[in-house]
Symmetry: D2
């Protein structure tokens, strides 16, 4: 009889695995009830392989912030975070870690404010540091010190990551900012009629928390604090936010604060941020434990 | 009154555009009625910017083939083809071209066969060359000669692209094969009970159209024909199909047929194929018009 | 008898070559007698494979300018230009072209001035355009039109390339500037006691020919002229000249002149410039003939 | 008076340095008197920044082996090892380490044999492990355990590195093989008339120490030992040694020994090996201390 064959798309590395002791990495979306904000907020978390089977082990954590008009699951869905992480862990370029994206936007605009900073009636930064971070780091076996905690993000989340790293330098070993809203850009801004509208409030919070001015205004003590964090700024040459990123990097250089800076081909889009993960995740890995 | 600002995520390049004469690139899914197959088949096509406004202009064409278990729209949806093309055209690394993905799978398994070759009751290759290609190249203002036509694909579509380029060397200027099913792999195959099942028939068609054997068996005339095509083989180091790709490349070297070969980090997955587009599209562009 | 084997480090591609019709690429250093400068000046030229055997063929040309304190042969000796070109031509990423580096420095400081601009008693720019370019393009079978001529350079030569491309936009299809001296940097400058010293004169020529101001001061006619050239700016994040490059790119964006910009890892050193060739040579290739 | 400015090519990072406590990295060539070989042999060593000022600190070590027809200083002179290391250390991608290249060739062919293996009257491997390694690790404050020792090399040195890593798996945490002579290639070999000539002896030593056969012949114990080393195989698609590298990688996969494999564009040349350092040095860094 004629022999026939069928293809199985098998990962060779999976075949090598001992089925008994192995659990694959996974992405979970769950909810936290916030007293500070007075609402329930969603978050999405990447858990590395063997997280469930390796009970005694605690992990480093990366807070990975999304941009405006998007929400917590976008890093998994469009950033393809799990696929990227699985490859980089397999090649050894990234270590196994917990990666969390809280929801800082989306939802019902009649109820929710947007953004990573404290605003009237929306103390998001307070929520992040006093509620969300403790909740996550307790629930998911996070190591929980500065040496094993990083923050990254894109656009509004890149500004959030940078600003959190600046003012909470004692909490993060590294910051990776993609296409970051370091301040309101000179180009691409417009005036509001209603200063109390949600976008106006958000905009004011970005101005009040300018990452650029925070460096320009730094005295020697602050400069020294900022040197305790490893910095990486990554922005496309077609990005409308590039000017502020260049201004930020120039300020960092003048303040003698070591900082990596890259301008790669691309704009303010997901092809850029997906590719940025391949640089970001090894970078935060290298800076864990230092 | 306090000044307020709002952000607009604006592409600077778009701002520069003359709104009157510009139409953006777009992805369209449509259907062809096939007499050969006796069914309607879907296809997805990428049309470059200004396609609608630039009536006198004809374009090069790339046939971009999908893999098993997927269908025509996967290059657009998961490969992010439009985003990649738009960036590469903006940077000049890819030229404006038509990119077409026909459906060679999916659908109702009781009705449709799968794959790119002629099989009992499913003359897909005949359909492709005598119906689909003429239909597309007439409908979308394709230049339509060997010098301005390329074929690429992933997995089963990588094998299809390679095989089409081999036996129809007079039709394609270049071939880019990703994670290609060059033949049935030694590992990862299994026997069938029913040699007339759809998978068995597909498998047999792959064996009968082995890209590896086509090179190994080549005489001087065939070798010379194959040299009229520019070849690029790209396969991940964790891919279960790598062995056959190495065998293929070794045969090409021994036959003195120029061929690019890359083994990059990764497996048989969409992160690999999305990143492969950044190499593939400039490669086919360079070989248009030669 | 025991069989023994010896290794030959053979390029497989060389084996495929018909020995009769093939001549390899080569690097030649020669001299031009300049009436304008009143001295003999050296230059180094890369000639592509088959240049000597392919008499009817004319080639595109790239002027590749060196930096301060170096001279014409540094692109070949430390930039490894021939090795890079040979690979990129083999892979199809660069086309066969003539690449010329004139000497704009070095030599006896009591006799020679330094730099690419016209200075008191050293009309180098006049020499370049009225003597050197015609001499080269006649001697080496250069096509000799804007569409097939490019200019690139590093540091002082990057500023020279940019400035030549600006004021002689009708002569070059593309400009690639590496770590370019776009103007005297804010950091890293110092005053002179003797304004007639050679370094003072050179410095003044850079200020007078500021690439940054040339864009900032551009009216609509000039902006339109600059759009006829393809621009690429490439500067390391540790380079002391980065600030001026960022200022230049910002000015280009504000003037709506399309320009590629990259900031990669690295400083003002030859590892950076060697790696830049892998981007530069495909870029100028893509822009030949457009 | 007119103000004039002069350029200083200053590394900004250097400016930040406290001059009192800082010593730059450096490359030193020195000699060891070998009892085993009965001659003095040269070696070249890269010492990281602050090596001289940081007396209590011990360092990881990388043995970086050269190829045939070359000698110990080629990694520094043509590989530009110091420039690459300094950049990668600055960006955090490589850690500070000692990098040593012993002389396994060159010299007077009437006196010296060539290669990394034990041969009649030339017990190089014995020299390496019993004399050279202890000498270096004592002299240069090397940590000196498996977890902090790596071996890499190109061509003949890539085969040497692989073979050393195989048979001395208890000594190295990782192996990076570039364009490696894994065995005598099928193509590019030739017979000898004199089996006692130096090249014939060298060739025989490569056959006797085939890296490919060592994997193919491995039993479960050996496979397990090999899994204690991190492996990286890197070979150009135009390299005449590629076939054996593909054979090696295929054998590693079949033996389920994790191994990274890359085929990049290029041949058997220094542009390839210089660029390989940018992958090799972060790879060995990641595997130190595991």
């Amino acid at each position: 009889m004629r022999k026939c064959f069928v293809l199985f798309v098998l990962s060779l590395s999976l075949l090598a695995v001992n089925a008994q002791s192995y659990s694959p990495s996974r992405v979970v979306t769950d909810t936290i009830k916030s007293e500070v904000l007075g609402v329930n907020r969603a978050y999405t978390v990447y858990l590395p392989q063997n997280f469930d089977n390796n009970i005694p082990r605690n992990y480093p954590v990366l807070y990975l912030l999304h941009g405006m008009w998007e929400k917590n699951d976008v890093w998994a869905n469009r950033g393809h975070l799990k696929e990227v992480m699985d490859r980089l862990v397999a090649s050894g370029e990234a270590c196994e870690m917990i990666i969390v994206s809280p929801d800082a936007g989306g939802g019902d605009p009649n109820v929710y404010q947007n953004g990573y900073f404290d605003m009237p009636n929306w103390a998001y930064e307070q929520f992040f540091f006093t509620e969300f971070m403790p909740f996550i780091e307790n629930k998911y076996r996070v190591i929980g010190d500065k040496e094993h905690r990083a923050v990254a993000g894109l656009s509004m989340g890149g500004g959030g990551a940078t600003n959190y790293g600046q003012r909470h330098y004692d909490k993060f070993s590294s910051v990776y900012a993609m296409s970051a809203l370091m301040d309101i850009p000179e180009l691409g801004a417009a005036r509001f009629d209603d200063p109390n509208g949600k976008l106006a409030i958000l905009t004011q919070s970005v101005i009040d928390n300018s990452c650029v001015n925070y460096v320009k205004d730094a005295d020697d003590v602050r400069k020294n604090d900022l040197r305790s964090v490893a910095w990486f700024i990554d922005c496309g040459d077609d990005d409308f936010l590039l000017d502020r990123n260049m201004e930020f990097y120039k300020a960092m250089r003048q303040a003698w604060i070591p900082c990596q800076f890259r301008v790669r081909d691309g704009g303010h889009d997901w092809e850029y941020w997906n590719s940025a993960l391949y640089i970001c995740l090894p970078f935060v890995t290298r800076n864990f434990g230092k």
